[in-house]
């Protein structure tokens, strides 16, 4: 064939349809926003039940995680996610989905070698690099704090 790799790369980029950025952003904004709104509602609810702010926040997160796990096992979370994208990925519900979905999928390979080994196959990197980032920031903060007057 006459075409070069560079030309083909250019051609395939021209022909391949792009993601609909604005539609995707709107979906992500509204679905993600709704999830956060539910979280806020839950926190307010727990506060009215006499929990202090930090406990109410923790309970709201836990409730969202449970809801996400239930929706994931019913196969509904991924249906919403196929439209919402980052809107369902970024909130804590997305993290729950990333842990629960492999747990369901790899159940058939056993509780240890399947569920145990594969449960964090997607969420694992988030934990590893999230912890790493918090350690690095902790060190920076340690040196910054005296200057900030803390």
């Amino acid at each position: 064939m006459k075409i070069s790799k560079e030309e083909y790369d250019k051609l395939s980029r021209q022909v391949s349809p792009k993601s609909k950025l604005w539609t995707d952003c709107l979906w992500a904004f509204f679905v993600g926003g709704t999830i956060c709104l539910i979280g806020e509602g839950l926190r307010a609810f727990y506060q009215t039940r006499g929990f202090i702010l930090t406990d109410a926040s923790a309970l709201a997160s836990v409730t969202l995680v449970v809801l996400s796990a239930i929706l994931t096992s019913l196969g509904w979370y991924q249906k919403i996610a196929s439209k919402a994208g980052a809107g369902t990925l970024v909130p804590i519900t997305g993290f729950a989905n990333a842990v629960v979905s492999p747990a369901i999928e790899y159940r058939v390979e056993g509780l240890v070698t399947g569920v145990g080994a594969k449960m964090f196959v997607i969420a694992g990197p988030v934990i590893v690099w999230g912890m790493m980032a918090s350690v690095v920031w902790g060190v920076i903060y340690y040196f910054l704090r005296p200057m900030l007057g803390g």
């Binding site: 395939s12 022909v15 349809p17 792009k18 196969g75 196929s82």
Partner: protein, 335 residues
């Protein structure tokens, strides 16, 4: 005498297609080719407890139907070529536990059906097998967990990604019998134009399809307009557009091109991204649409060019580009 001209093998006594069958799942049952399928199972598990077992079950059903429709008993088969997308081709291996037939396992991803059909054709035409069978399958759920993410994981698919068909197709070839016939085959060569996006396999495979088509046209002296249809396997919307553009640059205007990945589903109504893919996609389109059309005489000469993307999840993570392959089979309704 059979003859080799360039890289294409021409059969003097073209093997006859004794019978064929297509099996599909739920999404395939909602597609435009549903009527051509021999069996459509809306329970994607096929009554099994793992997706791997489901795919094997589907292949076993396909083998049974293919043999039944061909009027051939399993013991009468001299060879069976089969492949799928699972690691170590386990769908085929486990299906063949229950079929006492000399078995050749194949892997050429979505190009496996053309590979198997071409090999079966060579063995029958060469007198090394009286009857040989080619079969492939793919299962959306088994492929998804192996190549991408768990099914319940909430990910967004890019518009260029393709949908792995839950389908299987099988063909039995024999020395003598009715139409259609396998007239010639061209085994393709691995072609890599540097595409790295695993969600754009059509773009990775299109150059392979064009390369094999050009080889065949050069070897046979034929023109594309000599054929009723030129079917590619699983290029999808992006790959088909690229193939047509690449052909145009080679001075060939493709007006009779269809793609199995675009025929199996209705992209307007079904959410399948850029079209269908998987080893079972071209196989089931071959057995539910192409072969019936040839047998009925509604099409006389057809090129079947199944294309495969030969990456693995490991090579993808290692940022390797995706090698493509395409094998061609010339099918005719007259001997």
């Amino acid at each position: 005498m059979n003859r080799r001209c360039g890289k294409t093998l021409f059969f003097d006594q073209p093997p006859s297609v004794l019978g064929f069958a297509a099996v599909g799942g739920k999404r395939e049952s909602e597609g435009p080719l549903a009527d051509g399928f021999d069996l459509l199972e809306t329970d994607t598990t096929f009554g099994e407890k793992s997706w791997e077992r489901s795919e094997s079950k589907m292949q076993a059903l396909c083998a049974e139907l293919t043999l039944q429709k061909s009027g051939v008993a399993a013991e009468e088969l001299d060879l069976l070529f089969s492949g799928d997308l699972e690691n170590q081709c386990t769908a085929s291996n486990y299906t063949l536990r229950d079929l006492a037939v000399p078995f050749v396992g194949l892997y050429n991803a979505c190009a496996t059906m053309a590979e198997g059909l071409a090999l079966a054709g060579c063995f029958v035409a060469g007198g090394l097998a009286k009857r040989a069978m080619a079969m492939t399958s793919s299962h959306f759920c088994a492929a998804e967990r192996q190549f991408r993410f768990p099914l319940e994981y909430g990910g967004k698919r890019t518009p260029t990604s393709q949908w792995t068909a839950t389908a299987a197709g099988g063909v039995v070839l024999g020395e003598s019998g009715g139409p259609p016939y396998v007239r010639a085959v061209t085994f393709g060569q691995v072609t890599d134009y540097g595409i790295k996006d695993i969600n754009n396999m059509g773009a990775a495979m299109a150059p392979a399809a064009v390369s094999t088509l050009l080889t065949f046209l050069r070897d046979s002296g034929e023109k594309t307009e000599n054929f009723d249809r030129i079917f590619t396997g699983d290029l999808g919307m992006v790959g088909s557009a690229l193939m047509e553009e690449l052909c145009r640059r080679e001075g060939i205007v493709l007006t009779n091109h269809d793609d199995c990945g675009l025929l199996l589903y209705d992209r307007g109504k079904q959410e399948v991204g850029a079209g269908g893919s998987g080893a079972g996609c071209s196989a089931s389109v071959l057995c539910s649409h192409i072969l019936p059309e040839l047998r009925a005489g509604r099409m006389r000469r057809v090129l079947f060019i199944a294309t495969g993307a030969l990456m693995s999840p490991t090579t993808t993570l290692q940022k390797e580009s995706i090698p493509g392959i395409a094998h061609l089979v010339l099918l005719e309704s007259e001997r």
